[in-house]
């Protein structure tokens, strides 16, 4: 199986998913709106005291991002399962884990990236200092792919179930804990002006681990769900 | 170490005995559950076998 046809399949699959997403442009806005809405609920709940808001801002923004990612990860395989294309990936002459990685990359471009781009706005909303916003941006840049990769394993395990959504959060949220801890503490530390290289390198390590293991776990889970 | 002192547990009786009580409860439940399930399974299998026999007879 020569590798150039594999990379071609990888690129074509990503381009096709992006095309599909563009044709459902309205749906692309959902994760962003959810992210902004959940974040702006907290000041209403906690009160507008700037010092307090700034103290909780990293954790609040990151929990909101995490929930937005979880909400949107569900349809990475759902539509393919319903119209039968998922079976075709299993039967392709390319390794399933590569095709799965293409699907996850496309999903991240459609949902993870927008969360990233809007995060500075939320940083301002919550009164974060500028360099904390920069670090927030970097943690989301490194962290949201991890959310998509780990989430994909959960989706693959529950894609065959009628009400898979409920179980998905129970399966996936515990696995999100390390990213949440390192990322929100990175932004917190940055707000106090201390160096954050340790935090960012840990998140980067999580990303590499997820990148190398999650496609195989997701492929194995898809084979089980479709058998 | 007489009995009364033993149960008092140096004033922490509530905490120590509630912990051991809950432990005993959890461990017993995990033994009883499979026993009851086994009985239920066997009765269920026997019942379906009888029903199927009656249907064929």
């Amino acid at each position: 199986m020569n590798s150039d046809s594999l990379t071609r399949a990888f690129v074509i699959l990503i381009r096709r998913d992006l095309m599909l997403a563009v044709r459902h442009r309205a749906e692309m806005a959902n994760p962003i709106l959810f992210f902004v809405l959940v974040t702006s609920l907290f000041p209403l709940g906690i009160g507008a005291n700037p010092a307090l808001l700034q103290a909780v801002a990293p954790g609040v923004i990151w929990v909101a991002a995490l929930l937005a990612a979880l909400l949107s990860i569900e349809n990475v395989f759902r539509s393919d399962f319903e119209d039968g294309s998922l079976e075709q990936y299993l039967l392709s002459s390319h390794p399933l884990s590569v095709l799965v990685l293409a699907k996850i990359t496309a999903h991240w471009l459609v949902t993870g990236l927008p969360l990233l781009l809007i995060s500075p706005l939320l940083g301002i909303l919550m009164g974060l200092p500028v360099d904390a916003i920069k670090i927030l941006f970097i943690t989301l840049l490194l962290g949201t792919p991890v959310l998509s990769l780990i989430g994909a394993v959960g989706v693959a395990l529950t894609v065959g179930l009628r009400k898979g959504g409920m179980i998905l959060s129970l399966l996936v949220l515990p696995l999100y804990v390390p990213v949440l801890i390192f990322a929100s503490s990175a932004v917190d530390t940055a707000a106090t002006g201390l160096p954050v290289t340790a935090h960012l390198s840990l998140i980067a390590a999580l990303l590499l681990l997820a990148l190398s293991l999650s496609p195989f776990a997701t492929a194995a889970a898809l084979r089980v769900s479709l058998s | 170490m007489n009995l009364e002192e033993f149960f008092n547990m140096g004033g922490y009786a509530v905490y120590v005995w509630s912990s051991y009580g809950i432990a005993l409860l959890v461990l017993l439940v995990n033994i009883i559950a499979p026993l009851r399930q086994r009985k239920k399974l066997l009765h269920g299998i026997a019942a379906t076998a009888r029903r199927r026999a009656r249907r064929n007879a």
């Binding site: 529950t158 | 432990a23 066997l42």
Partner: protein, 246 residues
């Protein structure tokens, strides 16, 4: 010889009979060890100079916490064996281990918070170990929920195996990140939740209880696995005969 044994063991009928024989041989020593552990722990061991007698909760809490980790690893291992070599027996052991592991995790959480009450005055403390146990409980509940959600038993077992493997890779990461998080947000009032310095009189009951819990897990997982065998082999002849007899 070994291959024949393994092949014979793998047949559900033989496993059911063999497990039936093994269970009492595991249950009796477990009971004896537990009684010994309780005697040495509750009666013989001296009170701690700092915590008085409340530290005796340790003899339940610590072995339960060890078991919660141990069972998850065994579950992931059995799941992997079932997934790779498609051995039904391994699948059944993995499925049967989940509720037992969840029970021990719950037990560790409850006894941990009860033990913390006299020391810190509150029922729940975001201590590193307790927080890790809480997340481990969610992982167990995820495994049990996934197993119940899938109707086909063989597919459920394979899905659970994958989830358990993903979980077992994440457990050390979660543990490390929670430890790291705990040192970060170390509140001034929270004293480090460590065991009192262990000397022999306290170590013996701890080890006795730890071994007793392992034996307990062994015979309870066999009991649950036997139920799995009956459930899966309900249509085969020997199960019907067995059902008629009882």
């Amino acid at each position: 010889m070994f291959n024949n044994f393994f092949h014979r063991m793998a047949s559900p009928k033989h496993f059911y009979r063999l497990a039936g024989i093994l269970i009492p041989w595991l249950a009796v020593p477990c009971l004896l060890l537990t009684l010994a552990g309780l005697y040495y722990g509750l009666v013989k061991a001296p009170p701690d100079y700092q915590q008085g007698d409340s530290y005796r909760i340790m003899f339940i809490h610590v072995p339960a916490a060890w078991m919660s980790m141990f069972i998850y690893v065994v579950m992931a291992g059995a799941g992997a064996i079932g997934l790779i070599w498609r051995i039904k027996l391994a699948e059944m052991v993995a499925i049967s281990s989940a509720p037992i592991g969840a029970s021990f995790t719950f037990l560790a959480l409850v006894t941990g918070s009860i033990w913390g009450k006299p020391m810190w005055g509150t029922w729940w403390v975001w201590d590193a170990r307790l927080t890790s146990e809480l997340i481990l409980l969610f992982l167990y509940l995820g495994v049990i929920a996934l197993n119940n959600a899938i109707d086909d038993k063989r597919m459920a077992a394979r899905a659970v195996a994958i989830l358990a493997l993903v979980g077992v890779i994440n457990i050390p990461i979660i543990h490390y990140s929670v430890e790291w998080w705990n040192t970060l947000h170390q509140g001034p009032t929270v004293t480090k939740f460590d065991k009192p310095s262990i000397h022999l009189s306290m170590l013996i009951p701890l080890l006795l209880m730890a071994v007793a819990f392992k034996l307990y897990y062994a015979f309870v997982v066999l009991m649950r696995a036997r139920c799995e065998v009956l459930d899966r082999e309900r249509n085969s002849g020997w199960v019907k005969e067995l059902a008629e007899k009882t």
